[in-house]
Amino acid sequence: MNLFFSTFFLLAYFLSSSADARSGGTSNAFNPDLSLNTLFQGQNSTHGNDPTSLNPNGFSLNEAEIALMSDVDVYARLVGIFSITQDKGDWKISPEEAYAESLSFPLVTLKIGKFKAALGKYNQVHTHAWPFIDNQLINTELLTSEGLNSTGVSAALFIPLPWFSEIVVQGLSAPKLTQGTAPFDNTSPNALIGVARLRNLFDLSDSSTLEFAFSGGSGPNAVDKRTNVGGADMTFKWRPVEGGKYRAFIWSTEFLSGLQSGDPVSSTQVSDIRTQGGSTFVQYQFAERWWIQGRTEYEDQKTAAIYNAVKKKNSALIGFLPTEFSGFRLQYDHLEDSTLDKPDNRVIFQVNLSIGAHPAHTY
């Protein structure tokens, strides 16, 4: 309860300060940009009433996210994104990202703090901006449901070529052992994960772009062996320069593969876990505020002796976005999971609302 009072007073303070500034009160021009995003959802699925279900049927406040950002000085910008989520019945507030990044270096942006790793395209995207309501299967399996996100340093180098080209290199502390199953979890304070991503984007015309990227990460895992993850992604986007408010098309594909060494099969034997999978989806904007989307996914996980789990999932979504600050999405999923006795069919509805500072959209 204290958490809610603290959060409420913090928000009330900043919002009233902003109002004062606009009405000509004391100067609050240096207050950070502040915003709040909330994700409400309701779902019904075949396995949603199972006692062990991670996504139980019913309504939930999936996440509330508070973001603050401002320039520290002429050299750096500070960003804090705090998420309020429910974990096993208890509400918790945690820093999803809290980092400082450089403003004054040519060619390179340096970053220090806690942030999302540049491993794959969608690992860096916040929950409210995911293209579908849920995370991709392979991302959840290899990088956890909230994504690989830890404390470290990052350098993003702009490569001066005729097209957009960037290489990102990051060193991150391994996330501390939480659920015991995440491929990069490690309790050692010195455990470091190395991540690199090369991204290229070409303008095919004034209306369309093609982006492709390769990324990889390597670090120690829970049994002090190594986990290696590699991936590639490709995205085509089309939005005509005439009539672009009403029509757009996106096709995006991502593939990730991971090798987690040292899975303890027995007290004397260890094995490897090989996981690979991908997702491809299309999004089509057919009116100013309406989108339809379709996605297909595949995931294959093998250990030497125990099991071979295969998941296949198809999703369809219709989205209504009245403004930049609100969105309503209805999604249907059909999941075939070799570890479940029958396929899972799910209908999920999401309400995505934001207040505060105008968001700067990423491409």
Binding site: E166, E324, H361, Y363
Partner: protein, 297 residues
């Protein structure tokens, strides 16, 4: 060693006639900058004249343009708030950050209309806290913008400061002279009230004493609803409005509904920016086209 010296000299040397590399957010600003900068500048705009300037996608390819820019010119007033900060940040060019000589925000330096007062809420739509950002649609503002750009180009390239200033003076004088002619023609047309889709053209209408009693949007950024169109029909009837201008990046299908009740009303889809149509190459062309449309030519 000698070869290395030659290579380094070739790579690092800047040609004596190097131009100031300017990137503007809008085509209107690019057109003004081209006129002021002449052969001493190279200018490119991010948004196309056919695009709604509120909703440009922050393509990384724009970062490539801004990475090489000596000067970025924007409107400000939160017009580009959804896309420009990301492009500037991704460009990794410290010279064009806010507060540097390589960054120029025009909006706060010219006369701004429709500045909201009191407490604001997004329940009022996509309101701009610092006023209507479509400042380039006023001929008077265009003259002032020319002077502001000339001053900044002069700071970046002092040897041509005089030429930039002279060109700005010519632009301002020409806008003043032409405005008188445009005012006479608009007055002669008999048109007093004009409805637009969004508040884009309000600077132009204000400049020539025209009144916009209602927009087709019920609130800024919100598409027309049936209920609001009924209100628009009532206003058309009450005020005897004969002309609706729809900025050409908006869907003009709504015109069909209005035509049902008022078959004689003129509903025209017009470019609201330079290069909004291929023949609109300057601010003069843009204003001339709007005046002709009001005249019914």
């Amino acid at each position: 060693m000698k070869l290395l010296f030659i290579i380094c000299t070739l790579v690092l040397s800047v040609p004596a006639d190097a131009k100031i590399n300017v990137v503007t957010t809008l085509t209107d600003l690019a057109a003004i900058t081209k006129e002021i900068g002449g052969d001493e500048v190279s200018v490119e705009a991010v948004a196309k004249g056919t695009q709604d300037p509120h909703f440009i996608e922050a393509k990384p390819s724009y970062m490539v343009k801004l990475h090489k820019a000596d000067l970025v010119i924007s409107i400000g007033l939160e017009l580009e708030v959804g896309w420009l900060p990301g492009i500037i940040s991704g460009a990794r060019n410290p010279e064009i950050k806010k507060g540097q000589k390589g960054y120029l925000e025009i909006g706060p330096l010219v006369d701004v209309i429709e500045v909201p007062s009191g407490k604001m809420s997004r329940a009022e739509g996509d309101v701009h806290p610092d006023g209507n950002p479509h400042v380039t649609l006023s001929p008077k503002n265009v003259g002032k913008i020319g002077e502001i750009i000339a001053e900044r180009l002069g700071e970046l390239e002092t040897s041509h400061a005089g030429e930039f200033k002279n060109r700005a003076t010519k632009l301002k004088t020409r806008m003043e002279t032409k405005s008188k002619g445009w005012k006479i023609r608009i007055d002669k047309s008999g048109v007093k009230n004009v409805i637009t889709y969004h508040k884009t053209l309000n600077y132009f209408l204000d400049s020539f004493g025209l009144i916009n009693p209602i927009d087709l949007e019920p609130k800024p950024g919100i598409p027309p609803t049936s209920k609001h169109i009924m209100a628009v029909l009532n206003v058309i009837k009450e005020k005897g409005i004969s002309l609706i201008l729809i900025e050409n990046y908006f869907d003009s299908k709504i015109a069909d509904r209005i035509k049902e009740d008022f078959p004689k009303i003129r509903i025209v889809s017009v470019p609201a920016a330079v290069e909004g149509e291929p023949e609109i190459k300057s601010m003069d062309d843009l204003f001339e086209n709007l005046v002709k449309t009001i005249e019914g030519k």
